[in-house]
Amino acid sequence: MILVSAFLFGMLFALGLGIGGMTQPARIIGFLNVTGNWDPTLAFVMGGAVATTFVLFPLILKRRAPILDERFAMPERNYVDAPLIGGAALFGVGWGLSGYCPGPALVSLVTGASPVLVFVAFMAIGLAIANRYVRV
């Protein structure tokens, strides 16, 4: 059941990304282009997503445990440090260069198009390097 549930929510997540416009990198770049011809569309995607989780997460976390498991697996660290800021800064540069963040890039693999394959291959290399050499 845990796997079925993860599968279904992964599918729903992908549908949300696609319907919202997150799998169109030119739109992301248009949204990030705040000093130019700004495309505000994605503010509604992120606003809709965060508004939903902002209301539901606290209600869900009042439970002692999730429905299918014994405990919630939550991030434990709550302090701001240099790797957090440096990593986020690097990610932002990559996001701005391409218009892809990880979720939309993975969903776009189904197009089989070489720009997506190249991006995801190098993203995997980056993740693997950081997995190996950086304590996370």
Binding site: I2, S5, A6, F7, F9, G10, L12, A14, L15, G16, G18, I19, G20, G21, T23, Q24, P25, I29, N33, T35, G36, T41, F44, V45, G47, G48, A49, V50, T52, T53, F54, L56, R63, P66, I67, A73, P75, R77, N78, Y79, V80, G87, A88, L90, F91, G94, W95, L97, S98, P102, G103, V107, L109, V110, V116, F119, A124, I125, I129, N131
Partner: protein, 142 residues
């Protein structure tokens, strides 16, 4: 500003929020895509299975979109070398910074996490600066 529609972005956003909330309610896990992707690479552990299931769901959703709503997909207006560098930066950065748009943005802000708020503000800022630089200073980078 360009002409834009509000309904599909809002609907897409709510679906993303419901998916992240559902994964938390049923599985007790954070829907952080970079962490899920990193967990698919070795070394594998007990968490790998659900991550693989979620990833399979993402791809299945992608297949459904490509048949039912093919306009959802367009390709980045960038050259392959630029995309390679971008992919590497996204992989390194999300792993070092412990999250991306989904983990820090959609889930972290909902948990009222200071780490995630700082991370989100940081990557939104550097992303906007990058787009500005490409747009104004170096169109050749496209």
């Amino acid at each position: 500003m360009q002409a834009f529609s509000v309904v599909t972005p809002l609907l897409g956003g709510v679906l993303i929020g419901l998916a992240a909330s559902g994964l938390l309610l049923y599985n007790g896990r954070i829907a952080g895509i970079s962490g899920i992707a990193a967990g698919l690479l070795p070394p594998w552990d007990r968490e790998t299975r659900w991550r693989l299931a979620f990833f399979s769901g993402l791809l299945t959703g992608g297949v459904i979109l490509s048949f039912a709503y093919p306009v959802a997909f367009s390709l980045p207006p960038r050259s392959l070398p630029v995309l390679a560098v971008a992919g590497l930066l996204v992989g390194l950065g999300t792993r070092i910074g412990n999250g991306c748009t989904s983990g820090h943005g959609v889930c972290g802000l909902a948990r009222r996490s200071m780490r995630s708020a700082v991370a989100t503000a940081t990557f939104m800022t550097t992303a906007a600066i990058t787009v500005y630089l490409i747009d104004r200073v170096s169109p050749a980078l496209r």
